[in-house]
């Protein structure tokens, strides 16, 4: 066990955990931030995606020891008060969610994509989002929502 200082949603948090603890479990078990979801634990489904220095990252594969000093944004940090991020708004506009479990990860990857590439082509959207599994099969709506968000940015 060691003490790690993490910058999460612009706040510095201290946790005392084993160095190999994935950021996902630090967020969920130690910081009570449940937006990043556990789906597979091996970086295959994308449900745990957070932004690390602005880049969509699988938090289930990122040990806490490698996350110190980096800027972590979880879905809880996207909205500014009542003002949702355009990607969140687009998700609501298209009423994307069915069970909704994968959607926070999908949203985080979309935010990461649009911050680097505000006007992605269909192929670029697919390439970015293909690392995610939506078991309910809302892909058609996710595609549309990313498009809509890109028009709003």
């Amino acid at each position: 066990m060691s003490v790690f200082k993490l910058k999460v949603n612009n706040e510095i948090k201290e946790v005392n955990v084993a160095p190999d603890t994935p950021v996902l479990w630090v967020l969920r078990d130690h910081l009570q931030l449940y937006g990043a979801k556990y789906g597979c634990g091996i970086g295959q489904c994308g449900a745990c995606t957070v932004l690390v220095d602005g880049v969509g990252t699988r938090s289930c594969m990122l040990p806490v020891s490698a996350a110190e000093g980096r800027d972590i944004t979880t879905i809880e940090g996207l909205a500014e008060g009542d003002k949702l991020h355009p990607v969140q708004e687009a998700w609501l506009e298209h009423d994307v969610s069915q069970c909704g479990y994968c959607q926070s990860g999908q949203i985080m990857t979309a935010v990461g994509l649009l911050s680097k590439n505000p006007q992605p082509t269909d192929e670029e959207i697919e390439a970015a989002m293909n690392g995610h599994i939506c078991r309910c099969g809302t892909y058609v709506r996710i595609r549309k929502a990313v498009k809509t968000a890109s028009q709003k940015l």
């Binding site: 066990m1 955990v17 084993a18 603890t21 994935p22 479990w25 969920r28 078990d29 130690h30 009570q32 931030l33 449940y34 937006g35 990043a36 979801k37 556990y38 789906g39 597979c40 634990g41 091996i42 295959q44 489904c45 449900a47 979880t74 879905i75 809880e76 996207l78 909205a79 009542d82 949702l84 969140q88 998700w91 609501l92 009423d95 969610s97 069915q98 069970c99 909704g100 479990y101 994968c102 959607q103 926070s104 949203i107 959207i125 697919e126 989002m129 293909n130 690392g131 995610h132 599994i133 939506c134 078991r135 309910c136 099969g137 809302t138 892909y139 058609v140 709506r141 996710i142 595609r143």
Partner: protein
Amino acid sequence: MEDIIKTNYNRRSFLKVSAAAGGGLMLGFNWLAGCVPAAKEKTSVAIPDEWYDINAFLKIGNNGVVTIFSPNPEIGQNVKTAMPMIVAEELDVDWSQVVVEQAPLDAAKYRRQVAGGSQSIRQGWQSLRMAGATARRMLMEAAAQKWQVPVEELTTQAGSVIHETSGRQAGYGELADLAATLEVPAEVALKDPKDFSIIGHSTKNVDGPKIVRGEPLYGLDYYEEGMLTAMIIHPPAFGIRPGKVDDSAARNMPGIKDIFVINSKPASAPDQWQKTFAFPEMVAIVGDSTWQVMQAKRAVRVEWERVSPGISTSDYRNDLTALLEVEPAKPARLDGNPEQAFARAAKVVESSYSAPYLAHNTLEPMNFFARVTPDKAELIGPVQTPERLWKTTAEVLDMPLEKVSVQMTRQGGGFGRRLYGHFGVEAAVIAQRTGKPIKLIYSREDDMTYGTYRPAYKVKYRAALDANNRLIGFHVRGAGTHGSPVFANRFPAGAVDNYLAENHNLDSNISTGAWRAPRSNFIAGAEQAFLDEVAEAAGQDPVAFRLTLFERAINNPVGSDNDYDAQRYAGVIRLVAEKAGWGKETPGVYRGFAAYYCHNSYVAEIVDVVMKNAQPQVQKVWCAIDCGIVVNPDAARNQVEGGIVDGIGHAMFSAMTFIEGEPLQKNFDTYRMIRMKEAPREIEVFFVDNGIDPTGLGEPALPPVQGALANALYRATGRRYYHQPFMMPNSELGMALS
């Protein structure tokens, strides 16, 4: 015209409380209030000072805000929005004044709190309307008493009772205290569907804003102070049980509290669960945090003991194939004389189809919270059958039912997996033994290798055509691990003079269960691909060929116990053909058609495939569906889209296979799921508007798309696709043919 419907509740279902109770009845279960920091709970409506319980489905605040309780489990089928919409419609309240809450399990108050069989809306339709309509009537009676006018002179509009002649008007909030003390009316008028202003109008998912903010809605997100985390080690293969457990290394690892073997199987497990308590005995590890428990789990050494044979994919592949050569003792259905028909046929078409075991793979793995003290057991989590879990837990813990409670969280997918609440029982057993509240979490691997799979199926079809290419004989023989997939009384039964359906069952210790659209999820695709072959052999257009058969079933049906309504069936076929412009050829686009009836709904689909880098890509899917009145159209479209993607994905890519009872696919690196690149570019959905009471919607769009896909792939590639997954070449039941 108004339908007069007798109140069909028993009195107990209307728990009326005096105004003084002010919603005290509801206080016990709003667990989310303890889960979500108060500051994050943003409501768009003012919170009332006082709540009045009108009936089990709703309470009204003194300011007119209405809380509607959604009775059934929410697994992504969106009943948490749709069910309250139905109540609100008959209550006649503005949707913006409605707050929706998940009802707890309460078998005395609600009927059938189950998510399964696409039945929530169909079975809840009348009782939800009655709940709204009786409440509206009680509010009107309260106004009649206050104003000393006959109730017949009153009307309602958007949350107010109005007396037009005197110009008086009162909001529901002003009347709720008195209404809550009145008798429930024995008879009540329901709205004419043409007057619906909420039903039939797209309404956003009530949890949508919380989902996009990542709020803790799911079982896996449940947290309370002092809670421990539990995980399990279940046998890694079917047919074995834990023997000697060496936990000496794991026990001393950081954060680990206890390690022990549990047995959670109830003596009187309901039939449906008998097979699905595949692993009654397992090792439980309890600790402070998930990662610590995951590490300890790897350090536990278990010696496994074999109790039944270890089955491999090659075993059931051979057994199912052999079974299909055997004539069963008696047919499931026999019309006419199929043997003669085949003997005099000008042409006989014969093909076999197969599909592998499938895992449900809800993206939220199985989990449950439990707190068990000598006085009570509280369970909170995702389950599709809370009542069954409640009863089973009481039995296993040896506690009276009234001391056990089950509350439902939002659920990260169901697909049938959470019909089998063994994980809830396991959580309770672990909590009882630990003496502390625990949250049980399955790892993805625990989840994927536990079973309750969609069975492996194989089916053989034969069709006899006469010299005029008329279908004169049809024979289907199906076999599956735990039951045949064949529905003997579904189409084309009723449309063919000489018809024979036969079933075989292959027993197995690989546990199976209901998987979205059970049996239909395989047989629809097989049957519809076969009919495509038969139409081709008959030299007929596949749509025209089916419509001819339905003409027969409409005008002069064979037999009397056909499951389907041939008019409605033909209706969706004509609708999708018209919308998609069936018959119009577009260069480079390959079309397949299929139609199917299940869960009381009719679906016809057309799949357009294009070839991209020599790989098939589904470009567009057209779907016509007759599921009666559609409560929430855009959300209904979402369900249909999801069913189509789900059906295409599993038919193309997914399979569970085994060696000596061990599942070879344990996570998403080896179990392939459809992703965005493979999903259709576009899906267009057309609902039949016929005013019929709602029927199933969550499942029926899935089964036929597998057939439409196979038929489109045939046109794109020139070869028939008999064995799922289609993109695993030369495979049968998920295993390469040698």
